[in-house]
Point group: C2
Chain length 500, copies 2
C-alpha cells in the first residue's frame, strides 16, 4: 500500500469509525446472529490476488457488523464496561504506525521510558503508595530517572500488561520467587504452594494456579461475610496457620477491591496485616474499581495499600477511557519479578541491559515482544487531564445511583445493595414464586431483554439468588440510556410468563 493509498483509505477508516459511533444506537446491542452465520458469509479460501480496500470495508458492513456485540453502545451494561475513546484510538493508531518492538529498552528507549513515566503519573492520579512509583515518589527532588534506578533507591514501578489475568499471573510468579528463593522456577514445583482467594475472586486466579503448576486444588478459598461478600481476615489467618503447620508454603493472597460479581470490597488493611504476620505476598486486584480513585472521594478504596500491598492492578481499559488492552500493574519491589522472568540469550545482550541502568520490560511480563501501549494511555491522560477522568467516573457513579434509587422505590424489585461504583445488582421480586422459579424467571427476563437488542446486561449469583448485573460506565452512556434501560426492564418483566 503506497503512502497515498494509506492516506486515502486511512481517512476513510477514520470516517467509518466516527460514523459508527454516531449511528451506534441503530444497532442491536447484542449481536443476533446464530453460530456459523458470520462464517457462512466469508469465502472458504483466501484470495489468490489482492483486492482493493473498498471490498474489505463493504464486507465489514455486510458480514462482520451483524456479528458484533456493540460494547460501545450506550445501552451496553453487561460485564464491566470496556472503555474506548478518541484519544486512546489515536494513541493506539500511532503505535501501530510506528511499529516498534518494546521488548528491551534498547529496542526503542521511548517505549520503555514513556511507559514508566505514564504509570508513575497514573499512580499519582490514583494516589497509590509512593513505593509503587519508579522513583519511589521522589522525582520532585530532581535528577534523572530514565531507568527508574535513581530517585532515592526506588525499587518499585509499573508496567502495562494485556489484562488483569496476566497481571495476577505475573504477581504470583514474583511471589513464588520470593517465597521459594527461586526454587520453583529453577527446579520445578516440588512442594505444596498455596494461594488464597475468596469465592468472589476473579477466575483468573484459579487459571493462574493451573498455569503456574501450583494447582487449582491449592487455591484456598477464604470465607466471605455472608452479607457484604468481603473476605474474612480471621478465616484467612486460620487457613494460613493451618497450611503452614501442614508444611505448605503460602505464596500469595489476592484481595479484591470491587469484585466482578457484585463489586464487593475485601478489607485490605486487615488482610494486609495477616499477610505481614505470615510473610505472604499481598496482591490487590482492583481491575474494575481501581480507576475510581482518580476522585478524592474514592481514595478510601486504597486503604491498607501503603502499608501492605506488594502488587496492585487496575485496568484503564475497563473504566478509564483507554482501549483494551491496558492493564496497569505495579510492584513495590521489582526484583522478585525480574528474578522470576529474566532470561538473557546471547542475541538479546546489549550495552544498556548490561549496564543495569535501564528497565527491560520483557522481564516484567510473560511474552518477550511488546507493543508501544503507553502511547494510548499517555494520549488519554493528556486529552482528559485529571479533571476529565474524574468527571467520567463521577458520571458513571451518579447514573448508577440514580438507577439504584428507582429500583429501591419500586416494590416489584429488590436492590441487592446500594452501588459503590457503577454496577447495580438487582432482581424482580416475583412475589409468590418459589426461589428456583423466581431465579429462572430472572434469567428469562435477561434473555428477553438481550434478545430485544435494546440493551445488554448479564447476571450473577449472590447470596444464593440470581441477580441482574447492570454496569454503567460506557463513555457514551448518559441519563436517558439508563432511564430507557430501567423502563425496558420493568416493561419486559411484566411480559415474562411466570407461575406456570
Amino acid at each position: 500500500m503506497t503512502p497515498d493509498e494509506f492516506r486515502r483509505y486511512g481517512k476513510q477508516v477514520i470516517d467509518w469509525i466516527a460514523d459508527y459511533h454516531e449511528k451506534i444506537e441503530s444497532y442491536p446491542v447484542l449481536s443476533q446472529v446464530r453460530p456459523g452465520e458470520v462464517a457462512a458469509g466469508l469465502p472458504d479460501h483466501p484470495p489468490e490476488r489482492g483486492e482493493g480496500f473498498d471490498a474489505l470495508l463493504a464486507d465489514l458492513d455486510r458480514v462482520i457488523m451483524p456479528g458484533i456485540t456493540h460494547w460501545q453502545h450506550p445501552g451496553f451494561f453487561a460485564y464491566f464496561p470496556s472503555n474506548v475513546s478518541g484519544p486512546a484510538i489515536l494513541g493506539d493508531l500511532l503505535s501501530a504506525g510506528i511499529g516498534i518492538q518494546g521488548m528491551l529498552w534498547a529496542t526503542s528507549p521511548a517505549c520503555t521510558e514513556l511507559e514508566t513515566r505514564v504509570l508513575d503519573w497514573l499512580a499519582e492520579l490514583l494516589d497509590l503508595p509512593a513505593r509503587f512509583r519508579s522513583d519511589g515518589g521522589g522525582r520532585d527532588g530532581g535528577g534523572r530517572d530514565g531507568g527508574g534506578r535513581d530517585g532515592g533507591g526506588a525499587v518499585g514501578g509499573g508496567v502495562i500488561q494485556d489484562s488483569a489475568s496476566s497481571a495476577c499471573l505475573v504477581a504470583i510468579l514474583a511471589a513464588l520467587e520470593r517465597a521459594g528463593g527461586g526454587a520453583a522456577a529453577r527446579a520445578g514445583i516440588a512442594r505444596r504452594y498455596t494461594l488464597y482467594v475468596s469465592s468472589q475472586t476473579h477466575s483468573s486466579l484459579e487459571k493462574a494456579a493451573r498455569i503456574t503448576g501450583i494447582g487449582a486444588a491449592n487455591v484456598r478459598v477464604v470465607d466471605v461475610d455472608p452479607v457484604t461478600l468481603a473476605m474474612d481476615p480471621a478465616h484467612l489467618d486460620a487457613l494460613l496457620t493451618e497450611d503452614t503447620a501442614a508444611g505448605a508454603v503460602p505464596v500469595l493472597v489476592c484481595a479484591t477491591v470491587g469484585t466482578t460479581s457484585t463489586t464487593a470490597i475485601d478489607p485490605v488493611p486487615e488482610i494486609g496485616a495477616v499477610c505481614r504476620d505470615h510473610g505472604v505476598w499481598l496482591h490487590v486486584d482492583a481491575a474494575y474499581a481501581g480507576a475510581a480513585a482518580v476522585c478524592p472521594e474514592f481514595r478510601w478504596i486504597n486503604a491498607g495499600m501503603e502499608e501492605y500491598a506488594d502488587s496492585y492492578a487496575t485496568n484503564p481499559h475497563k473504566w478509564l477511557l483507554t482501549n483494551f488492552d491496558c492493564t496497569a500493574l505495579w510492584v513495590a519491589d521489582r526484583q522478585p519479578l525480574i528474578g522470576a522472568l529474566s532470561i538473557l540469550p546471547e542475541y538479546l545482550r546489549n550495552t544498556a541491559t548490561t549496564s543495569g541502568e535501564v528497565i527491560d520490560y520483557r522481564d516484567w511480563q510473560i511474552s518477550l515482544g511488546r507493543r508501544f501501549r503507553a502511547l494510548k494511555l499517555w494520549s488519554v491522560i493528556r486529552w482528559y487531564g485529571a479533571e476529565g477522568l474524574r468527571e467520567h467516573i463521577r458520571t458513571g457513579v451518579g447514573l448508577a445511583r440514580d438507577l439504584a434509587g428507582w429500583i429501591r422505590d419500586d416494590p416489584d424489585f429488590e436492590l441487592f445493595e446500594d452501588p459503590t461504583f457503577g454496577l447495580v445488582c438487582f432482581r424482580p421480586r416475583w412475589e409468590g414464586l418459589p426461589d428456583e422459579e423466581a431465579d429462572a424467571a430472572t434469567l428469562s427476563l435477561m434473555e428477553r431483554l438481550n434478545a430485544s437488542g435494546d440493551l445488554y446486561l448479564t447476571h450473577t449469583k449472590a447470596r444464593g439468588r440470581v441477580l441482574l448485573r447492570l454496569a454503567v460506565g460506557g463513555p457514551a452512556t448518559v441519563d436517558r440510556h439508563v432511564r430507557t434501560a430501567w423502563e425496558r426492564v420493568r416493561q419486559e418483566a411484566g411480559q415474562v410468563p411466570v407461575g406456570r
Copy 2:
C-alpha cells in the same frame, strides 16, 4: 473527543504516519538517546486539565521520536523483521474503533468466527496439515462450520496469540494436560515433568518452563549437529528413554524451523518419529521462518508436520506484513488445550457456550480478555492476496542471497552459511587475530555501525564464534539498502582498531 474532533485529529494522525514512513530514512535507525533522556523530556506530573491533541503530536516529534529505534526503517536488519503494512495498520485501527471484547463467542461472534476462518485461510496458504484447520480441511464439502464442530468431526484449529512465547506456553499447558491427565493443573505439579529443546531453541521455552512450574532444570537440552546446529534425533531418543526410565514424564519436544540465532532447521520428520515412539507432544516453532511456506518452493519446511506435529506456531507479525501482535498457533486437537485453560464462573455462563456449538477463545489463551486481532490479518490477506505475500517473501530471500554472494566473494569476510531465508550470518575474518580478539573486533564493528545510525544489526554466537546477524525482510527494504549496508560494513570494518 467529539466525532468531529476525532475526524480531524484522526486524519492528522493518518497523515503523520504516512509522512513518517515517507521520511523514515532521515532518522538514525538505532535511537541514539542515553538512559533517562526521553524521561527527562516528559513532565513529572500528569496534567490537571486536558490538553489539545496538537500538543501531543508536537511532543511526539520532540520527545518520543528521538527515543525510537526505527524497526520500519529499510536499514533495520536487527533481530528479525517486525513487519508493518498499511492494511494491517488499518485493520488494527478498525479493531480499536469498534472496541469489542472477544473473550467469548457471545461477546462478539464475528470476532471468533473471523479469527477461525482467517486462520484456516492462513493454514491453507502455508499448506499446513488439514487437521490443523477448524473444519479438518473439509469445508469444500459444504455445510456450516461456525464453531468449527461441523465438517467431519474436526478437532483442531487455529488461534491468534500475542507472541510465540505465549504460543509455546499454551502448547506446553495443553501437552501437560494430555501427558498427566490434568493432574498438574488440578493438584499442582507433583512429579518430574520434562521438556526437550536444543541449545538453539528460543529462550521462551525456558521461560515457559519456569512459568509452568516444570522448572528450568527440567528443560533437557538435546545435542545439535555441530555444523548445521540442527537437533540430533538420536540424542533426543536417548534422553527420552533415560528420563522415562528415571520416572520423569516427558511433556513436550520443541522443534524449531528457523532458529533465532541462525535460522537452523531441526529435522522434524525424525524428531516427530521419536516423539511418536515416546508418546510426547511435538510443538513446532516456526516463529520467523514459517511464513516462507506461502511460497511453494519453501513447502519442504513443513516436512513431518502432517504426520507428527501436535501444535505449530508462526508469527505473521515477523515476516508476513501484519503488525505485532499476531502469532498464529494451531493445534491438531483442541481438547487438551481447552481442558487446561477453561474455567467457567457464573458471570460468564451463556447459552452459546453451554450449547457446545461455538469456540470461546478465552479457553485457548492465558488471558480472559482479547482484542479483535483477526481484522488486521484478514485485511492483510485480502489486500496482498497469496500472490502479494509470496512476492514479499521472495524479495527478502532474494536480497539475502545477493548479500550472501557478495560476502562469499570477499576474502576479508566469512559467510556462516548460505542463507535459507532472509537472515545472513557472517563475520570479518580479521586475519592474524586470535579468536577472542577477533570476536571483540566483530562486536566493536557492530557497535560502530549501530552508533552511526545508518543501519542496525545484531549479533549471535555460533560454532563458538561471534557473528553478525543481518536479517532482511522489512517491507521497505529494497536492493539499494542492502547494497549500502554491505558497503558500510566493509568500510567500517576497515576502521575498527585491531591488533592493539
